[in-house]
Symmetry: C2
Subunit: 175 residues, 2 copies
DNA sequence: CTAGCTTATGCAACAAGTTGCATTTGATAT
DNA sequence: ATATCAAATGCAACTTGTTGCATAAGCTAG
């Protein structure tokens, strides 16, 4: 249901096509949720057939038609229901943990390479976060209530990533 | 593939039945990986038909038969291959982030309840971690190489959870 | 001029994970 | 006496996410 919820929120703010949403995902939503275009198109169609969205087709002569989705009353209600009910704890499933679990069969060189690459990914993520922070939250004093929540999630993302980096570096130092 | 890898590692250490593995999951493996019994039984059978495991049926008169799985050479090789190839970055998909993203439609009371419950879950997890630490890693000086890796994962789990707790408490203070 | 990117949508097959139900026997609790 | 739990396995249907492919037009770079 979480993907649906994310779609309901984005479309409730501003109606749009699957492609539009993909762009929003790429721009900044990506640190909140990630999904492929196939997932989006399929889910949007299902939501329409469930009555949570309406769809208006804008014919374009030179390009494929644009299908603009809008949230219905039923959609809003579904969103509010989801917001009201508590989330289930998400299961632990971290592939890197699995490799650590197999430590004694994990060749040292492969381990070094894996950790180095992983560290690079984390650093890149921190760079992305920093860019988002500069663009959207340059002045923390002047945060509107609407911006406070995304700011919180950004800060959490940053701190978790920093924790990961520290840990990876410690493990690498130890060999 | 990660579930397979986890199963290959556990069974390579000691052959056993699906039920056995479930127990190991409950005992301590759970902070590395979680899976339901249906997943296990199905995956074990597939791995057997793929030649990664052999299966010996121990008839029991008073209980359902026990099917003991053992890792084959092909299984070990699959494990080593998996260990050697780099992991793909895992996608961001945190349902709580989605709720934050919908901040303006998230009623304050529901938010408070959610965060309080979430905080409780985190604290419980810390308690579990502490228990594991006492039982398995009471003397960090005397860590054998074999125990060093699970100790690392445990420490990471602790630190990430602590980061989460700090963040949740900050958000709650703010209202 | 051709190769590849962007816009915009989609199908089909598969892999992974969840939910609900079913079986059989012994032990334990009320 | 009846109910429920634990041991041990499994099927079927479903949801969610991934991978690979297809279409069709315009635009840009070498």
């Amino acid at each position: 249901m979480s993907l649906r919820a994310v779609l309901l929120i984005t479309l409730q703010r501003e109606p749009g096509t699957g492609y539009d949403i993909l762009q929003r995902f790429k721009e900044g939503l990506a640190h909140v949720w990630q999904a492929s275009h196939q997932q989006l198109y399929r889910e949007l169609e299902r939501m329409r057939s469930d009555g949570q969205l309406t769809c208006e087709t804008l014919p374009q002569t030179e390009r494929p038609d644009r299908k603009i989705y809008r949230v219905t009353e039923a959609g809003l209600q579904a969103l509010d229901t989801w917001l009201a009910e508590p989330l289930a704890a998400s299961p632990v499933r971290q592939p890197l943990f699995a490799k650590f679990f197999a430590w004694e069969r994990w060749p040292e060189q492969a381990r070094r390479e894996e950790l180095t690459a992983f560290r690079e990914q984390l650093k890149e993520r921190l760079t992305t976060y920093a860019a988002i922070e500069r663009e959207w939250f340059s002045d923390p004093q002047a945060l509107t209530p609407a911006k406070r929540a995304p700011w919180h999630t950004l800060r959490l993302g940053q701190r978790l990533t920093e924790t990961w980096v520290e840990w990876v570096e410690e493990v690498m130092e130890e060999g």
